[in-house]
């Protein structure tokens, strides 16, 4: 439920962000499809299917990382928590960014 005053068309940047959000919503769906594919082949698990499950898993993780970088950057500005002081990269001792 968005506020009715939201404009119908968005600037390029906001538009891009919306599409990143869409991608983030669709990613688990892609995951479901990928993880269901091994079922389409019968018989015992061979090397190929093993490799498929693990590589598609890894691919999903990579994709999620790309999306999270975009989304996390924005939600940092929006974050409402009382302790959510944004951490500047240079001050981040864990070096997580």
């Amino acid at each position: 439920m968005r506020s009715p005053r939201e404009p119908l068309f968005l600037a390029r940047q906001s538009y891009r962000r919306r599409r990143v959000e869409d991608a983030a919503r669709l990613l688990p769906l892609l995951g479901v499809v990928l993880f269901l594919l091994p079922l389409m082949v019968g018989g015992a698990i061979g090397n190929v299917r093993l490799a498929f499950v693990f590589s598609s898993w890894f691919f999903l993780i990579l994709f999620a990382m790309l999306l999270a970088r975009h989304l996390g950057r924005d939600s940092e500005q929006q974050s409402t928590g009382p302790q959510s002081k944004p951490v500047r990269p240079s001050e981040d001792p864990a070096g997580t960014r």
Partner: protein
């Protein structure tokens, strides 16, 4: 050589290190140096409590038995994490904005702060988690036993039960020390979380070290593993390594559901979350962690199957493989990994459960013994709360230990992992429904939870004790009282499914349907609806909307109570900050609804929503305006809004009426002006002939005209003038009769040609006088009419004589054309004069309008006005036709709709 003492010693050192880590982290957190602690990586690592000893040791065993299927336990959480934008983000946002302390608190808070739901979820969580804790104790004791068995020569064989009791005791101590050390308003435990993060690293490093050793140390690299796998597939019983669709999908879903609803997962995911950035990082980092954790599971399993002697427990391959190759250091590391997995799970689970038990069971009981007391009675609340937590932790661990003792630590316990998952997954419908569906109601949630829980217990939990347990063999095989449809593992005749999938299917399907249908049928209480709106719309709203108002100043009482629960320093600081926000000095802010709302949220971070609500309700007592009252106010507002809109509509109506009135008024004014103008005009018109009549009659009276010839001339002038006067009066009378609608029409049948003939005959004198030629096409004029033809002829006479009088051409001609157009008859009178100038065209049908001063023409200027009135009466019209060669008038008449007996179509009449 690894001795038991070394093992215990290392274990002890490791625990001491954990204590230190937790201690330092707690200390840093107290000094508000939380930057490092709230970093996304710590958060991600803390999520690894998902990987318990069951997954650390058990995954390999699982893979050894059924191949790739073990991976479903990790795929579910992966899907949940990468879909964080969709679900977790909302969950975490709700958790933060509502200060949720546990999953029971979330559900209770969503459904109108209902403590019944809190108790229900707590019970499900305790029943689902206790066996799981027992499983962890078992895994730790088993791993001790592995060392003991292999080295029994030099070892004192440890008493397994004693090991378990030592482990449980140690865990209780750690949890109490760091889990209940302080009552934090956010229910966050920095020390514990950091220790868990360290353990997560140990787990990962240990498993990967064993994996690397297995693959490249003894397994012969990728090729060797591949060969070993083929061998294992061949050796395995038929179908063990094939993917079973039902289990694959079912277990993936189950692990995803459990990932969200397990109390310990909720604790680290939602309660310990500090900001959304953590979630963004964890969305890929935690799946990566799971990925790495499962990467070497299959290699370890297949190599273990190939190398180790038959009959070796595959669940312990992670330990036995390094021991088999006498890699004591690696074995030690693996042992620590397993130990970490078990301890971190037990610590977080017991904290989460203790919070739930103390907030939803102990505190409400304690509160109910103190009904109607003032704030000073809360003096010992904080102490009681802490004691409740500690007692709960001890109680839960004791429960786990006794479960372990009673169940005997057999294979039944090993299967408990999935059973436990399925139990807590019953909370999912109420939780997800509460987050996304405003219509989800308390009754629906209660009914759904009970249904799901009962079915889970009947189809999965009770049968899991085996035939010796609650259910007899005959009951499992034939159903209770021989009713086959109620067989616990083939409910309603569905017997083609794996027991876990079967139970999951039925419990969740029935849970959801009961939840949805009861929600659809019930009507939620006002508080529920308020909470529902806040939960579902959490991503849209900036601040919570709530309201209450208070008459009495109870701020001090609230402070007294808050001090007891939050601790005096914290409470005073918080109250001061609130007062400052209101622009006041000191510690006592006004008890505005906003302030009460925030205080309640603050307290609910400590004691749970339902309890906080009840406590504040007790303090405020009768001065509290209930939500029902609020809703009543809202209703009134709604009514007022409706009234306003009604008023607006009425106003609009009135405006329209007023506009119409003013238009009518304007018309009336114009009419009045017209009337005045008409009167002055008419008096002028009457006066002119009267003046000459008077003058000439005076001459005659005074004998001024002795000459009989002059007298006759004078008399004739008087006569002419009086004729003109009479005519004027006739016209006026005619017009007024027509205008008032009093005119009587005498319709009759006549052909147009005859009407025109009559009109021309009547005007023959003026035509002859003016020498005007009339052009007609007599063949067109054979149209039969049914109308008042005398009146029509009057119009024609007027038009013809006008043409004769006013046409300014030298050689006057008048064309009369008769035509039929679309059921109407048009009669055009077009002369060859200069016509009527454009600006006068609109005026010529007005009374007394004359275009020139040719008064000689003798008209009063009423002719065309009369024509227009007549044509109106005859349902026709007369218009000036611009753009012709001269002045042109068009008379339009309806034909075919004249009267019942004159109702004939022109085509027929043409032949008459």
């Amino acid at each position: 050589m690894l001795t038991f003492n070394t093992l215990v010693g290392v274990c002890f050192l490791y625990v001491i290190m954990l204590f230190l880590v937790a201690f330092v982290a707690d200390k840093r957190a107290r000094r508000s140096k939380v930057r490092f602690l709230s970093s996304p990586m710590i958060y991600t690592l803390s999520l690894s409590v998902y990987c318990t000893a069951w997954t650390f040791y058990g995954a390999v065993g699982y893979a050894a038995r059924s191949g790739l299927e073990f991976v479903t336990i990790y795929l579910g959480p992966t899907l949940v994490m990468i879909g964080w934008w969709w679900f977790l983000r909302k969950l975490v946002r709700v958790g933060r904005s509502q200060r949720v302390t546990s999953i029971a608190d979330l559900v209770s808070s969503r459904y109108g702060k209902s403590n019944l739901l809190g108790v229900l979820v707590t019970l499900i969580a305790v029943i689902g988690t206790t066996p799981y804790i027992a499983l962890q104790l078992q895994s730790v004791t088993l791993s001790f036993a592995v060392f003991a068995r292999d080295r029994s020569a030099g070892w004192v064989i440890p008493d397994l039960e004693q090991t378990a009791i030592w482990v449980a005791g140690g865990l209780a101590l750690f949890t109490i020390l760091f889990g209940t050390r302080n009552l934090d308003v956010n229910e966050r435990h920095h020390g514990v979380v950091t220790a868990i993060a360290v353990e997560a690293v140990v787990k990962l490093v240990a498993l990967m070290a064993v994996g690397i050793f297995v693959v490249w140390g003894i397994g012969g690299g990728a090729q060797g593993i591949s060969a070993a796998m083929n061998e294992a597939i061949q050796a395995a019983p038929e179908g063990a390594w094939s993917l079973q669709g039902g289990r694959w999908v079912g277990l993936t879903f189950l692990s995803a559901a459990a990932f969200l609803t397990l109390p310990r997962m909720f604790q680290v995911l939602v309660v310990e979350n500090v900001d959304e950035r953590q979630l963004a990082t964890a969305s890929w980092a935690f799946p990566l962690y799971l990925f790495l954790m499962s990467l070497f599971v299959i290699p370890i399993a297949v190599v273990g199957l190939a190398i180790l002697p038959k009959g070796e427990n595959p669940d312990l391959f992670v330990l036995t493989l390094p021991l088999y190759f006498e890699r004591d250091g690696l074995a030690m590391l693996a042992f620590l990994g397993g130990f970490s997995s078990a301890t971190s799970m037990v610590i977080v689970a017991s904290i989460a459960l203790a919070t739930m038990v103390s907030n939803h069971i102990i505190m409400p009981l304690w509160l109910s013994t103190r009904l109607g007391v003032d704030a000073s009675e809360y003096r010992d609340a904080r102490q009681i709360l802490l004691s409740a937590r500690r007692l709960s932790i001890v109680g839960i661990l004791a429960l786990g230990y006794f479960y372990y003792r009673i169940s005997g630590g057999g294979a039944a316990l090993a299967a408990i992992g999935l059973i436990s998952f399925a139990g807590v997954a019953q909370v999912l419908p109420a939780m997800a429904g509460g987050l996304f569906w405003r219509g989800a109601s308390r009754s629906g949630a209660v009914a759904g939870l009970i249904t799901g829980f009962v079915i889970w217990a009947y189809t999965l939990f009770l049968p899991s004790f085996g035939e010796a347990g609650v259910m007899s063999a005959s009951m499992l095989a034939d159903g209770p009282w021989g009713i086959a449809a109620l067989r616990p593992q083939a409910l309603f005749g569905v017997d083609g499914l794996d027991p876990v999938v079967h139970a999951l299917f039925w419990s969740l399907i029935l849970n959801c349907s009961v939840f949805v249908s009861v929600s659809l049928l019930s009507f939620p209480s006002p508080l529920e609806r308020l909470q529902a709106a806040q939960f579902v719309n959490v991503l849209d709203q900036s601040g919570p909307a709530r309201g209450r108002s208070f008459n009495a100043a109870t701020s001090e009482d609230l402070l007294v109570m808050a001090q007891e629960i939050m601790g005096s320093d914290q409470a005073q600081a918080w109250f001061q900050a609130q007062a400052e926000q209101q622009g006041k000095q000191g510690y006592l802010p006004d008890t505005t609804p906003d302030f009460i709302g925030r205080l309640e949220r603050e307290l609910s971070g400590l004691v749970g929503t339902a309890t906080a609500h009840a406590m504040i309700g007790q303090i405020l007592g009768g001065t509290t305006v209930s939500v029902d009252d609020l809703l009543a106010v809202a209703d009134e507002t709604q009514q007022m809004l409706e009234q306003t809109s009604q008023l607006e509509a009425k106003q609009l109506e009135l405006t329209t009426t007023a506009r119409q009135l003013s238009e009518v008024n304007e018309k009336l004014t114009q009419l009045s002006i017209q009337k005045d103008a008409f009167l002055s005009q008419i008096s002028h018109e009457l006066r002119t002939p009267m003046t000459s009549i008077r003058a000439f009659s005076e001459i005659l009276r005074d004998g001024g005209a002795n000459d009989p010839e002059a007298a006759a001339r004078h008399a004739s002038i008087i006569h002419d003038e009086s004729v003109r006067l009479t005519r004027l009066l006739d016209d006026l009378l005619d017009l007024s009769v027509l205008e008032n609608g009093q005119v009587q029409l005498y319709p009759r049948r006549e052909v147009m040609r005859d009407v025109l003939d009559r009109a021309i005959a009547a005007t023959s004198s003026v035509i002859d006088q003016e020498k005007m030629h009339i052009h007609r096409n007599r063949s067109d004029e054979g149209v039969a009419l049914y109308t008042d033809t005398d009146r029509l002829a009057q119009v024609f006479i007027n038009l013809i004589s006008n043409a004769a009088k006013y046409c300014d051409a030298k050689d006057k001609r008048l064309a009369i054309r008769v035509r039929q157009r679309g059921g109407r008859l048009q009669v055009d009178f077009v002369d060859n004069g200069s016509g009527v100038p454009l600006e006068s065209q609109s005026m010529i049908f007005e009374k007394f309008s004359r275009l020139s001063d040719q008064a000689a023409a003798g008209g009063a200027g009423l002719g065309l006005a009369i024509c227009r009135e007549i044509m109106d009466k005859l349902d026709g019209s007369i218009t000036y036709l611009p753009g012709q060669s001269g002045a042109a008038f068009r008379v339009t008449l309806p034909i075919g709709t004249q009267s019942p007996f004159g109702r004939t179509w022109p085509s027929d009449i043409n032949h008459l």
